[in-house]
Every structure is written in C-alpha cells, then in structure tokens.
C-alpha cells in the first residue's frame, strides 16, 4: 500500500514520547517506545497501556439488532445480556469449503438507549475492517437498524496488568470505580474515566487482567495522559504493538492472519468455543457458513494448533517449517522470544499424529534446525487468575 497511513488521536503523543512508528494495517502506530522486553514485563508485573484505536469499532443499534447479529455471527447473540461481551467469528458462505472466515471480533451488548432500543458494539481487526464493514453493510435490513463505523470518532485504550484495574478506578468516581472493579471477565459497563464518558470492558489481548476503554477521539489524549500519570508511579509503561504481539503469543491467543486465516477450520485451531451451531434451546442456528462449520466440527482435522517451546532464544518466524519423524509435519504461524519465559516459543499448525504434548521437533529457522517440544497452550498463565 502506498497510501498515507491513518493516524489515531494518540499518534502525536506517541511521536512526542519516543514511539517508533510503523505502518501497521494502514495505521501509523508505535511498535515500541523503549524496549519490547521492558514493555512486556511491565505489563506482566504492573501495567501496560496500549493505543488500540486502530481496531475497528462498529455500532449497531435498533429493534432488530439482536436478530440481525444472530443471523450473521458464529456466536449466539439472541441470549446476550446487557453488559456482556462475546468473542465471535464473522463468516461468509463463500469459498471451497463453504465457509470463509472474514474476521474474529468481540461483540458487546451495551446499555440500551434511554427509549429501550438495544445497542451493540463490535470490535474488529484493523486489517479486516474494510471488508467486514462492506460485508455487514451488504446484509443490512431495509429498516429497524442503524449501523455506523465509529473507528475515526473514537479511541480505544487497553490498560492491562495486575495493577491496571485499580489504576483506572483511581480516575473514576466511587460508583463507577466499584462497578468497574466488580466487572467479570468479558463484561462491560459505562463510566466516567478521568471525567470523560467511556465504555469500559474487562477484556484484553495480553493474558493479564485489565480493561479496554473507548472514549471520544477529542478527549483521547486527556484520558490517555491521565491513565499514564496515575499508573506511572505504579510501574506503568506505554507499550507498542511489539509487546502486544509477544504478550498475546505467550497467552496463546490467535491472531487473524497468522493462526486464524480465511480458510481456517476453527475447531482445529482451538476456536470451537467461538462457534455456536445450536441456539440456546438446542435447535440449529442459521448463519453464513453454518453447514460447512458443522461438517468441520464432525470431521477430524488434518492439522491442529499447538504450542512449541524452544531451548534457545532464537525465534522461529511465521512460515518456518516444522520437522518430526523425518518429515515436514507443519509450519509456524507466530514465533518470538517469550520475554516472561526467557526462551523462544511459537504457535504452529502440526499434523494431528505428532501434535501431542512432549513430541520433539526440529524447526527450521533460516534453514538451521532448532529443537522445540510440543507444549500445552497457553505458554504463560497469570499467577492468580480472577474467577
């Protein structure tokens, strides 16, 4: 792409605070400020804050919002409660298998409008936003629904780490702080953060406790600075996309374009939980690609997603071939040094017969074999997960 990258409302802050800016999925984003390892460890030990405003934020409102989303998403939406978020896939019924995965997304039922109209928010990947928006718009009903892309009007700040929630709560009134600290995982509420109206959800992409905060673009820098200043004495570091990637990799979370691609079998990559073939009553649901996904679920996949732990710090990268039993048995989808573990790890798709914990493999890293063992995912689990 030769177009000028888009800028989040926080781009000037990143540039004036040492962010090393790169074009990521068409956005001008910091890959790191100081050091990926330092930013990663700050998130594990204290707080990391991330500008994730490049992620697509869609607003869906109207009396038919439930039914419309229920007819399009792989996760059940009909029974989603106010303040609940669900991880879902967005699919079409195109492609040789009868299903194409357009994206993975988080769908949240927000507080109803004052007149009782249901409101939903969807967060999609920056790299897929255009095609997901085009797809959803093409399926809009004639009436009863409003659909808006709010990405440019808002900003999204992820605050992650063991001290993250307490830090955000310092910036809220007592009622809001109590509600935020009491949020379960994948729950959301509205609150005033640093005096600004915000949508706050107990979600993230790091394997740590934390929240994601959506505010209006015009106040994004004020809110970001307030969180930064409140967290700095507790060890907060602003983090770039580099640490975001190493954190999600350690947490065993798939990334669209790597573990998850358009032709993926979600059951083979551990995303079966993102597909509800039946409704709450046990009857079949209808959404694009549903029958193809039912066939995938019934079949044994040829390759499945595994974790690989290396002895060395030398990282395999996407596409590195994995050898075992004298043959090529798969390839790496993501790999890096795992800063919390002190050695390299990777996620890979491997032939099912060798995809068992303990299998030893050789991964070809720039043609040089590196020993790696199949291990359970995630590589890292935070010491005392909340319930």
């Amino acid at each position: 792409m030769s177009t000028t990258p888009l800028r989040t409302p926080l781009a000037p802050w990143h540039e004036s605070h040492g962010g090393r800016m790169v074009d990521f999925a068409g956005w001008w984003m910091p890959v790191q400020y100081s050091s990926i390892v330092e930013e990663h460890l700050a998130t594990r030990q204290a707080i990391g804050m991330f500008d994730v405003s490049h992620m697509g934020r869609l607003a869906i409102e109207g009396p038919s919002a439930h039914g419309w989303l229920e007819s399009l998403l792989t996760r059940r939406v009909a029974d989603i409660a106010v303040g609940q978020a669900r991880y879902t896939l967005v699919t079409s019924d195109e492609g040789p298998s009868g299903v194409t995965i357009l994206d993975d997304a988080l769908v949240t039922r927000e507080t109803d409008a004052p007149d009782g109209t249901p409101r939903f928010a969807m967060v999609v990947n920056a790299s897929n936003r255009d095609r997901v928006v085009a797809w959803l718009r093409s399926r809009l009903p004639a009436a009863g629904l409003s659909f808006a892309d709010r990405t440019a009007d808002t900003a999204m700040i992820a605050v992650q780490g063991p001290l993250a929630v307490a830090t955000v709560c310092v910036l809220c009134g007592d009622d809001d702080a109590g509600r935020i600290s009491g949020l379960g995982n994948y729950r959301a509420t509205r609150a005033f953060v640093a005096g600004q109206p915000a949508a706050v959800s107990r979600t993230g992409y790091t394997g740590e406790d934390g929240v994601e905060v959506v505010v209006q673009a015009a106040v994004a820098e004020d809110v970001w600075q307030a969180i930064h200043d409140a967290g700095a004495p507790r060890g907060l570091k602003p983090c770039g996309l580099g640490a975001r990637d190493t954190l999600r990799l350690e947490a065993g979370m798939p990334l669209y374009g790597h573990e998850l691609v358009a032709s993926s079998d979600p059951f083979a990559i551990g995303l079966g939980l993102a597909v509800n073939l039946e409704n709450a009553a046990g009857g079949p649901r209808q959404f694009p690609g549903r029958d193809a996904l039912a066939r995938m679920k019934a079949a044994e996949p040829s390759r499945v997603r595994v974790g690989l732990a290396f002895e060395s710090k030398r990282a395999a990268r996407e596409g590195s071939p994995v050898m075992a039993a004298g043959r090529e048995v798969g390839s790496v989808s993501s790999g890096s040094l795992a800063p919390s573990l002190g050695h390299a790890v990777a996620m890979a798709l491997l032939d099912r017969d060798v995809a068992t914990v303990g299998t030893t493999t050789d991964v070809l890293v720039r043609d040089v074999p590196q020993a790696a063992r199949v291990v359970p995912l995630p590589f890292y689990r935070r010491p005392s997960p909340r319930g």
Binding site: V31, Q32, S34, S35, I36, V37, G242, T246, S312, K313, R314, A315, R317, S336, L337, P339, A344, R366
Partner: protein, 124 residues
C-alpha cells in the same frame, strides 16, 4: 588509533596494527535493533566479500544480517559476544567488536564513510 570507517549497512571497520581490521556494528544500529536475543558469528577462516553476510543478529522483532564492510578473511571472532549481547550496547566500538578481518585490499576502506558522513546518514 586509526580512523574508524562506516558502511551504509551500519557496520564499522577500524584498521589495527599488523594489517588487520576490526569490524563491529554502530551504536545507532544497536539502539535501533533493541532487545537483542541472538547472534551468529562466522567461522574463523571464512573468506567474505564486501557486502556479503558474515553473520546474523536477532532482536525480538526481526533478524538482521551483519554485512562485511570490506573483503577479506575472518581471522578472529569475538566468541564471548553472543553470550553477552549487552556488551554490544554498552561498548559497540570496543568490547562489542564482532570479527577481525585480514583485508584483501587495505585500500578498500577508503570507499567507506567517515564518522561525520555516517552520522549524517542516520540523522535524517
């Protein structure tokens, strides 16, 4: 001490007594890489041409080649360096040296940049 010269690819080379030349990577390059995790040195005795890869350096984000700034034979490597990559950042022009080369043609160094010219290229 003889003048240090720089390649566009961020390696430095310094002539030493006895006709050898010491090679390393610039402070700018080390700071740009950050989070170094791995380094691959060439075998002693390997012959390299200017611009050829003589090793690799890997950070959390990426793998980079280290290119020979001049042609010659690798006569010594800093074998301790891969085990203590912090040295590269702490002393890139001293203890962080990478290899010593016996140059094929000592005049080849004249084609490289001096410190001021190199500094100008990385300040853009």
């Amino acid at each position: 001490m003889a003048e240090m010269k720089f390649a566009k690819s961020h390696e430095w080379v310094r002539p030493e007594a006895g006709g050898l030349a010491t090679v390393g990577i610039s402070k700018y390059a080390v700071e740009a890489l950050t989070d170094l995790v791995f380094m691959q040195l060439p075998p002693v005795g390997k012959k390299v041409k200017a611009g050829e890869s003589l090793g690799e350096i890997e950070s959390v984000k990426a793998v980079s080649d280290i290119y020979a700034p001049i042609s010659g034979e690798i006569v010594e490597v800093n074998a301790a360096l891969p085990g203590q990559l912090d040295t590269l950042g702490a002393d890139p022009y001293g203890a962080g040296w990478i290899v010593r080369i016996k140059p094929d043609d000592p005049a080849e160094m004249a084609g490289l940049m001096d410190q001021a010219a190199y500094d100008a290229t990385v300040k853009s």
